[in-house]
């Protein structure tokens, strides 16, 4: 990967194990500031684990992750997690309405979210304002993903980690969300790290792409690499399509 860019986040020889299971193996690399990096790889490769490490939900067994040349362990966890926002793969919700969920990031800091602002956020992710006071239990998978994205965006993080946020969306919603994320990236210079199993999306959205397999980074480079991967295993993965 080009070193011309300032890294927003640098990963240095990170390993992560749970018990005897070695989930991430010697991960090293940088995510360029203000760019979109897509993360692809078979399920179980360790993509989600890598994002949780960056957000500080878990800590590496060895190695370190740096932001502004300081290890993330030196930041206050709450501060780090606001700076490096994450939209979790399962789009979990707290009990209550869409509004309660959208307001959560503010509420955690003792602030309120004005209803007008909440409606504007809903429109950004393509949900009608009628949804604002719906119980989240009544929403579809795709609608939950939209609420989850909107909620994470409310922290206005400088680095955004997105974990398969469009997997349950129909085609038109998918493009709407892609446009929104690209807009945020361009407008605020937000660094984006985006896990997707949609290889087409990984190429069209990404500036750079990492291919993870079995806990290792197999190939990295500009997202076009997926058109003609150097590595034989990656080529097979790409040809086999996403799983």
């Amino acid at each position: 990967m080009s070193t011309l860019y300032e890294p927003a986040l640098h990963i240095n020889d990170v390993n992560y194990s749970m018990g005897d299971v070695h989930i991430l193996k010697n991960i090293t690399g940088s995510f360029p500031k203000g760019k979109i990096t897509t993360l692809v790889g078979p399920s179980g490769a360790g993509k989600t684990t890598l994002l949780k490490l960056c957000n500080g939900l878990i800590s590496p067994t060895s190695g370190d992750i740096f932001i502004h040349d300081k290890p993330i362990s030196s930041y206050e966890p709450t501060e780090l997690r606001r700076h490096v926002g994450i939209a979790l793969q399962s789009a979990p919700m707290i009990k209550g309405t869409v509004y309660h969920n959208l307001a959560l990031p503010m509420e955690l800091q003792g602030r309120k979210l004005a209803e007008q602002d909440a409606i504007a956020i809903l429109e950004d992710v393509g949900l009608d304002k009628l949804f604002l006071h719906r119980k989240t239990n009544d929403l579809s998978g795709g609608q939950l993903q939209k609420v989850s994205i909107a909620r994470t965006l409310n922290n206005r993080s400088e680095i955004l980690l997105l974990d398969e946020i469009t997997s349950a969306l129909d085609r038109s919603s998918l493009h709407e969300i892609e446009e929104l994320i690209v807009k945020i990236n361009r407008k605020y210079g937000t660094t984006i790290i985006w896990i997707t199993h949609n290889l087409e999306q990984a190429m069209s959205i990404g500036d750079y792409t990492w291919v993870l397999m079995d806990g290792q980074v197999i190939e990295t480079g500009e997202s076009d690499l997926l058109k003609s991967p150097m590595n034989e295993v990656v080529r097979q993965f790409v040809q086999g399509g996403a799983e």
């Binding site: 966890p77 709450t78 979790l88 009990k95 955690l108 800091q109 994470t152 922290n155």
Partner: protein, 251 residues
């Protein structure tokens, strides 16, 4: 009651034994063990209490209360094995509740400072506090397990452990207190509380027995609330580490 009349009461043990034998319930052995154990344990406690009441020595009272707290802690800790340091957290809760209630009772001279009162009331307070601790721990561990996702979500958005576990903590505290409050609503209607019945049988004035029972009811409300809340706030931090991460495999 003489030991002769007491022996006659064994008829009440023979009836279930006969039933068990005829219907092949297979409960004979358990019934006999239970009978023997209750005879030995209660007689032993009776003689110990008699000795302590007669001596009126503050050291013996303290020793008795300490033993009760130790036994109650030992009993309750099994439910919270997953929580680090649960033993001392339960012990602290029981000691706090005991000191708080006795200070109020003796401080305002609600009851006389005799071994008879201190030990009987301590037994009720500590016993109830133990039950509340068990109810709380059962519910709390279940809540934490079912709502892991929510806890992780709140942490991921920059919430503190306290914010991330708040709903589960409140739910468990409420759930553990409900039986105490509910049973007190029907008190006297559905059942006469055991202690009141005992006093009335022993010849006490029913109105006085009721007054005393009311005192106990109010006392147990405090016991329930303070036990759950204190144990809750002592317990939740050990589910997280210094980096505000939810510890894996705790529950």
């Amino acid at each position: 009651m003489s030991y002769l009349t007491l022996s006659i009461t064994l008829i009440f043990v023979i009836i279930p034994l006969l039933l068990s034998k005829t219907l092949r319930l297979g409960l004979e052995k358990d019934t006999i063990v239970a009978t023997v154990r209750s005879i030995i344990q209660l007689l032993a406690v009776g003689y110990i209490l008699k000795f302590v009441f007669e001596s009126e020595n503050i050291l013996y009272i303290l020793l008795m209360v300490t033993l009760m707290i130790a036994a109650a802690t030992h009993n309750a800790r099994k439910k919270g094995k997953a929580i680090e340091g649960i033993t001392w957290k339960i012990a602290v809760t029981l000691v706090f509740v005991e000191v708080l209630t006795q200070s109020i009772l003796l401080g305002f001279q609600i009851v006389p400072p005799t071994a008879q009162y201190i030990i009987s009331i301590s037994g009720m307070v500590i016993g109830n506090s133990m039950v509340l601790s068990i109810l709380f721990l059962n519910r709390f561990t279940a809540e934490v397990e079912t709502h892991r996702d929510e806890t992780e979500l709140i942490l991921s958005l920059g919430g503190t452990p306290k914010q991330a576990i708040h709903r589960q903590l409140i739910n468990a505290i409420k759930a553990s207190m409900i039986p105490t409050i509910e049973s007190q609503k029907t008190m006297g209607l559905v059942q006469l509380p055991g202690m009141m019945s005992g006093q009335i049988i022993a010849g006490a004035d029913p109105i006085q027995a009721v007054q005393f029972q009311l005192l106990i009811i109010f006392l147990l409300l405090t016991t329930a609330a303070v036990s759950s809340v204190l144990l809750g706030f002592l317990s939740y931090p050990s589910l997280f580490n210094q980096r505000m991460q939810l510890l894996k495999g705790k529950f």
